[in-house]
């Protein structure tokens, strides 16, 4: 009876510990920097074809685009006055705000602005979208909910230089409530679990032939050379197919177990890099890695910092 009576209290404590416990601000900063850098590349690739993809003189005018847009989706590009000047101006503003997000100036505000731009460009032309554009929207959204500009940022630097009423410098914060970052972590796991469960519903993934087809899709596969035997031998193809499902199931489960977290992160890194090597998926794997970076913790960053300093010029000299 005592255990039952204490259950709600324990659950509430666990909930609060998980969502509202302290978080190392450097992790949010890392996600912010990686995300903003990728948004800059994402936007830069649009630039030569801005009018083609997003203007009324392009291949997808608004009247047609609205038919492809799912219910509830919105784009501020629909509000722009006609003409390519305004489109270019909107693109330039998005680019500048992504730059400001990268350096961490007005971070939360610019995170919100970049999110609005990413959603707007993505929702304006559904014909050029891929799964990575969805991940760009998602990470952008969760970044707004995180204290993403408190560390490794111009905002943090300005705050550290501000003096209090009695002349004392304010001490920069190093921790904050975790819930914004936790939502991103949950989202990353949902992506992998959903992908794994969808694969289980497909006969080709269950019978081990899915990667035979994927390897022969000329719009995605064949980025760098791989031995032909991998894609011609039935048992190897089946193994790659099933390992893909296993990895997509295992990572989002193992990553919550403290002892397995680092191994799960390494597995995610290798999985995405292997896919990046073999497939043309633009920025998909890089934006996914930016999302998985939310699972790093302060100790990992310290360890990476130590590893880098040992292998850097100063470390080698000593």
């Amino acid at each position: 009876m005592t255990v039952l009576r204490q259950l709600p209290v324990r659950l509430a404590a666990a909930w609060n510990g998980f969502f509202h416990g302290p978080l190392d601000l450097r992790v949010c900063a890392l996600v912010r920097i990686a995300y903003a850098a990728l948004v800059l590349i994402w936007l830069a690739v649009f630039y030569p074809d801005l009018a083609r993809w997003f203007s009324e003189d392009g291949v997808f005018p608004l009247i047609v685009a609205r038919k492809a847009t799912p219910g509830g989706a919105w784009t501020v590009l629909a509000l722009l006055p006609p003409g390519n000047f305004w489109l270019t101006a909107a693109w330039a503003m998005a680019f500048v705000q992504a730059l400001l997000l990268l350096v961490g100036f007005g971070s939360r505000l610019n995170a919100a602005a970049v999110f609005v731009w990413v959603v707007s460009f993505a929702n304006r032309n559904a014909l050029i979208l891929d799964a990575e554009d969805t991940v760009f929207r998602l990470i952008g959204f969760y970044l707004i909910l995180m204290p993403c500009g408190a560390c490794w940022s111009v905002d943090g630097w300005i705050r550290s230089r501000n003096t209090g009423p009695n002349g004392t410098r304010s001490v920069p914060a190093t921790v904050a409530p975790a819930w914004g970052l936790r939502l991103l972590q949950i989202q990353m796991c949902v992506i992998f679990l959903s992908a794994a469960l969808c694969k289980l519903q497909s006969a080709a993934w269950r019978d081990g032939t899915a990667m035979y087809y994927v390897a022969r899709l000329d719009d995605y596969f064949g980025r760098f050379p791989t031995p032909d035997v991998l894609w011609q031998t039935p048992w190897i193809v089946a193994l790659i197919t099933w390992v893909t499902i296993a990895v997509e199931f295992a990572i989002p489960l193992a990553i919550w177990w403290p002892r397995a977290r680092r191994w799960a992160l390494v597995a995610a890194l290798l999985f995405h890099l292997a896919n990046e090597y073999t497939m043309h998926l633009f920025l998909f794997h890089w934006i996914m890695l930016a999302g998985w970076a939310s699972f790093l913790c302060g100790d990992d960053l310290d360890a990476i910092g130590r590893w880098c300093s040992q292998r850097g010029p100063a470390g080698r000299a000593s």
């Binding site: 609005v116 014909l127 939502l183 719009d219 011609q232 043309h280």
Partner: protein, 178 residues
């Protein structure tokens, strides 16, 4: 400071509400086990928030076809010009990276064009304008969707990955201009 305590509690409850609503919507939208009716119910809200995602199908089922787009442009003097979407197998990694959106356009337009022929109408119009700027008087545009089916694997040694499968064309639209 009772006001501070109240404000902190309010913020905590607000954050908890946001967490529950977002996680519930994301799960309903993304997970294949969530009933379609639930997904349909959350779609307008989650899209309004900008975080609509749908099921993460990711090659399930894998596409069994390769696609190209081709157009034949008939000029007023009877000559026929040919326009072709890029042959991706002959492009460099860099060309594929910067041209990623163009290859997405070809893939998605073929799917979307089946439902909304306006997609092809607009493409035909743009091709006519593009060639018109080069001094060609285009009177007819035929857009052809070319598809190569990847045959199901059989036997103990499957065809090489680089083997080309034959493309078959199907006219998507035939648009005359006065």
């Amino acid at each position: 400071m009772p006001t501070d305590g109240l404000w902190s509690r309010l913020k905590l409850w607000l954050a908890n509400g946001v967490i529950v609503v977002i996680v519930a919507m994301v799960v309903c939208d993304a997970m294949p086990f969530s009933p379609d009716a639930w997904q349909a119910a959350v779609v307008p809200v989650i899209n309004g928030l900008g975080i609509g995602q749908g099921r993460w199908t990711m090659f399930s089922p894998p596409d069994g076809e390769n696609h190209r787009l081709r157009a034949e442009l008939t000029l007023r003097d009877g000559r026929i010009l040919d326009w072709q979407s890029p042959d991706l197998t002959r492009q460099s990694t860099w060309q594929r990276f910067v041209g990623h959106r163009r290859s997405e356009y070809v893939d998605n337009a073929i799917v979307f064009g089946k439902q909304y022929p306006e997609t092809w109408e607009v493409l035909a119009l743009r091709l006519r304008e593009q060639y018109g700027r080069e001094g060609h008087d285009v009177v007819l545009v035929r857009i052809i969707v070319e598809q190569a089916t990847i045959p199901p694997p059989s036997g103990s040694n499957w065809p090489p990955r680089t083997k080309e499968f034959p493309f078959e064309g199907q006219v998507a639209i035939r648009r005359k201009f006065p």
